[in-house]
């Protein structure tokens, strides 16, 4: 019943060229997912809410970047616009709406996010139109691809992986070493205490939401040259990054990184061996992790 193509998979595993190509493609899927998922997991860790509209930030990042690129022609500025625009959006969204439902039950939080998924998708449709858009590869990266062990690797992929890894490193070190990082971790642990020490927790919450939104926006901006843009593009990314956080463990940055790379590889190699069952493979993996370790690979017991 299920279309299997094991020959294609084993054939690829035997050839170094195919192996390199598929691994790179797995890496870029994984890295984009990581940027979205780490924001999701960070927001959950500190604010204890799952931002169900997180995919919309990814979408806005891509659209902002496309518009900025079309207006200025500068790729760096496009990335900046994607990230900064969604950061502001995240701050407004958290302070204006999400902060009103912290005390309420999950149902209310889901509903507010559901409302915004609907609104954001329609806003994008209004501004940019319902059809597929593409940003196009910036001129600076329209160069001959690199050949590594016979596999084709476009230079843009390397930039994408590099930027995502840099973001991961800055985020990880920032949370572990800086004063702000310490305050954020303290707020995740005991917001009442932090607030009693004279720190504005509202500001921390807004800031963390903005940071999460910014990371998703950056992912969208990075993806804009290699993906087609459409209203609703954020939703499948949201589901996948949620699977990533479930696998890695909610609230764990390392878990998000490992989970994202695993999902990236499953998608990349799965599309060879099980073309119609790639998504199913992801879910299967999630179920296995959930059944064996309900809090995820790197999740803490109390979540």
């Amino acid at each position: 019943m299920l279309p299997l193509d094991i020959d294609a998979l084993t054939g690829c595993l035997a050839s170094s060229a195919c192996l390199v190509t598929q691994t790179t493609s797995g890496f870029i899927i994984g890295m984009l997912l990581f940027l979205v998922a780490v924001g999701l997991t960070l927001i959950f860790g500190v604010l204890k809410v799952v931002n169900f509209s997180h995919g919309a930030f990814y979408m806005f990042g891509a659209y902002f970047a496309m518009t900025a690129y079309q207006l200025t022609g500068s790729f760096a500025l496009a990335m900046l616009c994607g990230a900064a625009g969604t950061a502001i959006l995240g701050l407004v969204f958290e302070r204006g709406f999400m902060s009103r439902v912290y005390g309420a039950d999950v149902l209310m939080q889901l509903l507010v996010c559901y409302a915004f998924v609907l609104i954001f998708d329609d806003v994008v449709r209004m501004i940019w139109g319902p059809e597929f858009k593409s940003m196009g590869m910036p001129a600076a990266f329209q160069v001959a691809p690199l050949f590594i062990a016979g596999g084709v690797v476009p230079p843009y992929y390397l930039l994408l992986i590099g930027v995502a890894l840099a973001a991961a490193a800055i985020l990880g070190l920032g949370l572990a070493r800086t004063r702000i990082g310490k305050v954020i971790r303290a707020a995740a642990h005991n917001p009442g205490m932090v607030s009693a020490l004279g720190i504005n927790t509202g500001l921390i919450y807004g800031g963390v939401f903005a940071l999460g939104g910014m990371l998703a926006g950056l992912a969208g901006a990075l993806a804009a040259p290699v993906r087609s843009l459409t209203p609703g593009m954020g939703f499948s990314v949201l589901i996948e990054s949620f699977i990533v956080t479930v696998i890695g463990g909610m609230g764990s940055i390392l878990g998000a990184l490992i989970g994202a790379l695993l999902i990236g590889m499953i998608r990349s190699f799965g599309s060879l061996g099980f073309p119609l069952f790639t998504e199913g493979l992801m879910y299967l993996f999630m179920v296995i992790v959930l059944v064996s370790r309900p809090t995820g690979l790197f999740g803490k017991e109390v979540a």
Binding site: V106, L111, V112, A115, L118, I119, M126, F235, Y283, M286
Partner: protein, 339 residues
């Protein structure tokens, strides 16, 4: 230790059995009356639009009320309940198209498929804490949706099940006749609501409320929380699937949108709109949402935008459903008058 003779022990608790029986009789009467009123409706208003509206209410109402069994009664915020709606529509449609069995057989077989699927998915999900439960059910919904999209040879992919669903007459009922379809949908709705009300009022229903309020305490007094949650998850799935069957019969097909996550989102919104504290709240919510949907689609193409703003008004402005609001208002007024 000597055993006490049966009649010397503590008095058995006076369980009000007759009361239960009269209440069930009353429910039967109400159900019958509701069915008679609905069935006689075409004699008074013969507008096809109204009958279509009632059929859609039956499909979504069963779905939304079954979701309330999970959200309102058990505290399980499922964000993937729509998968069973889609499963019902596709299961029934495929059964009728591919195997040529009679309608009742296909209906029962669809329920059997739903039962098995819900049992497997539920067994994985109900153990999870609330936000995990919400998202993992959502993830399964998307898995079913993407399976429908990619398994083109069976499901027709994004085109849906086309070519119409054959509806051979059975027991003197011809579902291709609009009036017969209407009466059958009403019957399914009334029977479904009656059964769900019996579940909600049964001792099991009260066990569910206890799990919602304090799962730890429930497990201390010997309730198998996991089994109770799984049972209601499967039961709710069966009613949602019945809603899907009505929908498939109504449109004579099945489309991927029936299994898309927005159906689950709408179901949650219906519950919010009608309120989860009353049994019939979701039915009120269904009627309101369908009227809202029909009006909004007629007025603007930005349907999501308007719906989103309405949802925000309820979630952030009112902070409760309409029925909850009305009931609280009524109770306050009565209290004031009492003083």
């Amino acid at each position: 230790m000597t055993e006490l003779p049966a009649d010397q022990g503590a008095q058995a608790l006076d369980v009000p059995q007759p009361h239960v029986k009269t209440r069930r009789n009353r429910d039967v009467l109400i159900a019958l009356a509701a069915f008679v009123v609905l069935a006689l409706l075409p004699m008074v208003f013969s507008s096809k639009f109204l009958l279509d509206f009632v059929i859609r209410c039956a499909a979504y109402g069963l779905f939304a009320t079954s979701l309330n069994l999970l959200i309102g009664y058990t505290g399980l915020t499922s964000f993937g309940h729509g998968m069973f709606f889609g499963l019902g529509a596709y299961g029934f449609g495929l059964m009728m198209q591919k195997t040529g069995v009679s309608v009742p057989v296909a209906f029962v077989a669809t329920l059997a498929i739903t039962f098995v699927t819900a049992l497997v998915i539920g067994a994985i999900c109900v153990r999870l804490k609330e936000i995990y439960f919400a998202f993992v059910t959502l993830a399964f919904q998307m898995l079913i949706h993407s399976t429908i999209l990619s398994w083109v040879s069976l499901t027709g992919g994004d085109q849906g099940l086309r070519g119409g669903i054959p509806r051979p007459p059975f027991w003197g009922i011809d579902l291709s006749n609009h009036l017969h379809l209407y009466v059958t949908s009403c019957a399914l709705l009334v029977i479904g609501l009656f059964l769900m009300h019996q579940i909600a009022q049964s001792p099991f229903g009260y066990t569910l409320r206890m799990i919602r309020d304090n799962a730890t305490r429930a497990s201390f007094i010997g309730i198998d929380v996991w089994r109770a949650k799984l049972t209601i998850f499967v039961l709710a799935a069966l009613f949602a699937s019945t809603g899907g069957v009505i929908m498939a019969l109504f449109v004579s097909g099945a489309y991927p949108e029936f299994a898309y996550w927005t159906i689950s989102g709408e179901g949650i919104f219906i519950n919010m709109l009608g309120g989860v504290t009353t049994f019939l709240g979701p039915m009120v919510g269904t009627v309101l949402l369908l009227i809202l949907n029909d009006t909004v689609t007629r007025l603007t193409e930005y349907h999501g935008l308007v719906l989103g703003i309405v949802i925000l008004f309820f979630a952030i402005g009112l902070r409760k459903g309409l029925m909850d609001f009305v009931i609280e208002w009524y109770a306050q007024r009565r209290d004031r008058r009492g003083k």
